[in-house]
């Protein structure tokens, strides 16, 4: 067992273990937690953060950070919704809206990547700055929340495909993506770039391209999260997704990825994001007075992190 823990990525297992504990607790305090409906609704709540955390992982593995994901999500949301509204609510309009959203996300990722990898600006402050710009553009596109999304879009998102809830499909596909990418050289290169940048360069890796790709991946996942949010809220809102930036970083850390880069993986981030969501649930269903909810949530997150770090050191 100890050897197992010591092996590849202990923190990955720890996030899983913590998640199991929380699921058990939640099952105890919330009756009906395991009812398919309830599970689906919880997954719907957690899914956007899960997606953003996946993308954030790749940026962090490469030793960078992306604070702009929330703003990217907002921008993609308003673009998608505006395009759908402008083209009427047909299936074609839906597809066009989604495509436009993802294209914009790619553009956002490219901008981040160019500024950071080519012009070599400091990533944290740069993505904070670009985040402000993306928010500004979102406000420009849609000055206040509104516009409706075609019924087909959000009812499909909230419903099921082949008897499997759509949100579960999305989670499974995201998981598959993570699984596949972890087996490609690219993820190893990301870690190299984050672990020892000059070493990676000296080893002949195309630093700039790798970092840009990471930012584009992050933005695409933020865009996918925005499509989910759009399905969940059936509306456009320029202020949407503001908590995704910091939330995704916490999820990545909880999932055992080192924020300094070079170590970790997106599977852990998925668990970390689910863990963060579950913490919120448990607190509520444990019947805590509301004044203590923020406090206790902060404490549990810290405790989970501390526990993970302490155990990982064994």
């Amino acid at each position: 067992m100890r050897a197992l823990l010591k092996m590849e990525r202990p923190a990955w297992l720890l996030a899983a273990a913590a998640l199991v504990v929380l699921v058990v607790i939640n099952g105890l305090v919330q009756k009906g937690f395991f009812a398919p409906m309830v599970l689906q609704s919880n997954l719907t709540t957690f899914l956007p953060l899960v997606l953003v955390a996946i993308g954030q992982t790749y940026v962090i593995l490469a030793g960078d950070i992306d604070l702009s994901v929330g703003a990217v999500a907002a921008l993609v949301n308003v673009i998608t919704v505006s395009v759908m509204a402008a083209l009427g609510g047909s299936a074609g309009a839906i597809a066009a809206g989604m495509a436009a959203g993802i294209l914009v996300a790619v553009a956002c990722g490219l901008l981040n990547g160019l500024l950071i990898a080519v012009l070599r600006l400091q990533p944290m402050v740069t993505t904070f700055g670009t985040g402000i710009i993306f928010s500004a553009l979102a406000l420009w596109v849609l000055p206040q929340a509104g516009l409706v999304v075609p019924d087909a879009y959000w009812s499909t998102y909230g419903g099921a495909i082949l008897d499997v809830p759509t949100v579960l499909w999305i989670l499974l596909l995201a998981g598959l993506f993570v699984f596949v990418l972890a087996r490609l050289p690219f993820q190893s290169w990301l870690k190299a770039v984050g672990g020892n940048r000059s070493g990676a360069f000296q080893s002949g890796l195309p630093l700039t391209g790798i970092r840009i790709k990471a930012f584009v991946l992050s933005a695409i996942f933020a865009g996918l999260a925005a499509l989910c949010l759009t399905g969940e809220t059936a509306t456009g809102d320029p202020l949407m997704g503001q908590s995704l930036g910091m939330g995704s970083i916490s999820a990545v850390a909880l999932g055992g990825t080192l924020l300094s880069g070079g170590v970790g993986g997106a599977m852990g981030s998925i668990l970390g994001a689910l863990l963060l969501g579950m913490i919120g649930n448990v607190i509520y269903f444990a019947g805590l007075p509301y004044e203590y909810q923020t406090l206790v949530q902060g404490l549990i997150v810290l405790a989970a992190l501390a526990g993970g770090v302490v155990l990982a050191r064994r």
Partner: protein, 332 residues
């Protein structure tokens, strides 16, 4: 070449000196300040008037004091960053407000109480980062939630107090040479920071730890203690900012410090301190804080749509960052 080793920095030819000066983040920040003042004055006459500049400096002082702590944390490296400063400013303000509750006599106890409490919170950050080894960004983010939650609990039923008149005058009214007291306080803090960083062993340790933690440990520097202390100081300076903020606003409320969190980081980075730790200083941060506040006011006075203001703000930030906050090229 191996003698005459006491050669000092002033012995360089003036060309090199001029070149270094031009690349210096401090010079760049000052340049940016002058340019923005010029633009402001051109667009809305009165923007660069003396008393308006004094008011801007007052606002910058609030940011600058909080950014001093942030600066220490970032300098000490190890991905050091303090996201809890905003929440701790709020906490400091609420504590100070409750202790002084409008009484001049209680100002000192209020300052001490606010600083003591926030110092402790800061130390807890430091302990989490050093002993338990939680990454600073997550530790302080968690602490932010805890402190905010704590404020909601704490402010229950307790009247959040008011600033004492003397404190409000100190921050808002001219004291000497037409300048309010807070500017002198900031000046004193700046001098203390520069001396701390350049001439004391604590300052040396902060740079050394930021540059190479392992090497710092091997030369006997108390790495963990210094780091805890640095986070503690960041907390305390946030608490002090909280006291000043309540003097500025007159009374405290639980989200009063939120708006300072990210600007402290930006001021530090614009001022030329590397987020990787180990290089930079406070003088640049002072310039960074002023530039940032100036930019914000400049944008306020422009008659623009909100998104336009935000766009300009973001873009200017990137330009400022691009002027010096660039990382090293892999190939030279």
């Amino acid at each position: 070449m191996s003698d005459g080793l006491t050669s000092d920095i002033n012995a360089r030819p003036w060309q090199t000196k001029a070149l270094t000066l031009l690349r210096d983040p401090l010079t760049l920040a000052l340049l940016a300040i002058v340019v923005m003042l010029g633009i402001g004055e051109a667009l809305s006459p009165g923007f660069a008037r003396g008393d308006q500049i004094v008011r801007l400096l007052t606002v910058a002082a609030l940011l600058g004091i909080a950014a001093a702590g942030q600066n220490l944390v970032i300098l000490s490296g190890g991905a050091g960053i303090d996201l809890s400063v905003g929440a701790l400013i709020s906490f400091g303000a609420v504590v100070a407000g409750n202790v002084m509750n409008g009484a001049d006599a209680a100002i000192l106890p209020a300052i001490l109480a606010a600083i003591a409490v926030t110092f402790l919170f800061g130390c807890v950050n430091g302990i989490g980062v050093t002993v338990i080894r939680i990454p600073p960004i997550v530790m302080t983010l968690g602490m932010m939630a805890v402190v905010q939650g704590g404020l909601v609990v704490f402010s229950q039923g307790i009247p959040s107090g008011n600033a004492a008149p003397a404190l409000m005058n100190f921050i808002n009214k001219p004291m000497l040479f037409g300048l309010p007291g807070i500017l002198f306080a900031w000046l004193a803090l700046s001098i203390a920071m520069v001396i701390l960083l350049r001439r004391t062993s604590l300052g040396f340790a902060i740079y050394a730890i930021g540059a190479n933690e392992q090497a710092a440990r091997l030369v006997g520097l108390p790495v963990k203690t210094v780091r805890v202390l640095v986070f503690g100081l960041s907390g305390a300076l946030a608490g002090l900012t909280g006291v000043m903020v309540i003097g500025y606003t007159g009374n405290s409320f639980i989200s009063v410090g939120d708006q300072y969190m990210l600007p402290t980081i930006i001021a530090v980075v614009i001022g030329g301190t590397s987020l990787a730790g180990g290089s930079g200083g406070y003088v640049g941060t002072v310039a960074g804080a002023i530039a940032l506040v100036l930019l914000q006011s400049l944008l306020t006075t422009l008659h623009l749509e909100v998104w336009g203001r935000q766009l300009i703000f973001g873009a200017t930030l990137l330009v400022l960052l691009g002027m010096y906050g660039r990382q090293q090229a892999p190939r030279v």
